[in-house]
Point group: C2
Chain length 138, copies 2
DNA sequence: ACAAGTATGCACCTTTTGGTAAGTGTCGAA
DNA sequence: TTCGACACTTACCAAAAGGTGCATACTTGT
């Protein structure tokens, strides 16, 4: 491993990974951006419904809490996937929509979506087993 | 909204979600299966390299610990995405490969992979900002 | 006057996830 | 005989993710 004990080079280039500092590959990069319990659902919903008001989104994504929705939306906004529009009205009115980048990501999500749908039976079965295993463990 | 206070129905059908018990959509199902820090990388690697021995995989997926690799592999195996082959030899010899299901998932992952690659500049920039924001916060 | 809706912020807590370090048993090499 | 490789396993701990509930400031409806 450490075979250059004799090289006179003071500060070797330390050959780095061929890809970017943080990401091992494109997939890795993508997943960092959509990781988060509700993000894909938000993307999914926005891709279908166009600009959506906060409250509407909140009701659409069942079981999400305010804190979580806001948090995920902010991250998505920070990642330039969604655009927040504040109408500066009172009572507050705000809506969210996909940026071009967000839209393209939503499109890349489609095959995953289809995979899930096509193999829903498999996945459901497998998850049911998991649950029952957990149950028997206790 | 709640206009049937007078309906005589004893146990209303309680109209439930159109999709499966746990999943809001196919995408949701898929993401549950590939969530986990190393799973996509494992899938990715196995898709490219065919059957791979444990140690090899361990060295390929840089920075993963034994515990994590094993754990993720077990889950992937439990989800019927990878197949574990134990040659019952001593010293132990085991390898891992994709099942047909796993292979199809890996294929569905390709667009995401491409998206990440195509938008790597964007994503990297955005993440760099995140990091610097965190840094200034402290 | 009061409740409800609007889009968020914040404090606190629990659960989940990930990581570190050590140990297992058997074999062949040194 | 000790050591390292092999494929794990376990106990313990830290960090991140997620959840609950209360607060804000202003308006409209009752």
């Amino acid at each position: 491993m450490s075979s250059d004990r004799s090289t006179p080079v003071p500060a070797p280039p330390q050959n780095c990974t061929p890809t970017l500092p943080g990401f091992t590959c494109g997939l890795d990069a993508t997943l960092r951006v959509i990781s988060g319990k509700w993000k894909p659902l938000i993307l999914y919903f926005l891709a279908q419904g166009g600009p959506t008001r906060y409250g509407e989104l909140r009701r659409a994504v069942r079981d999400v809490s305010d804190k979580m929705l806001i948090q995920q939306l902010k991250e998505l906004e920070g990642d330039a996937l969604v655009k927040r529009t504040d109408y500066k009205e009172v009572p507050p009115r705000v809506d969210y929509s996909l940026t071009p980048l967000g839209r393209s990501l939503a499109e890349a999500l489609v095959p995953l979506c289809n995979w899930g749908t096509e193999n829903l039976a498999e996945v459901t079965r497998v998850f049911a087993e998991r649950e029952s295993l957990r149950a028997t463990r206790r």
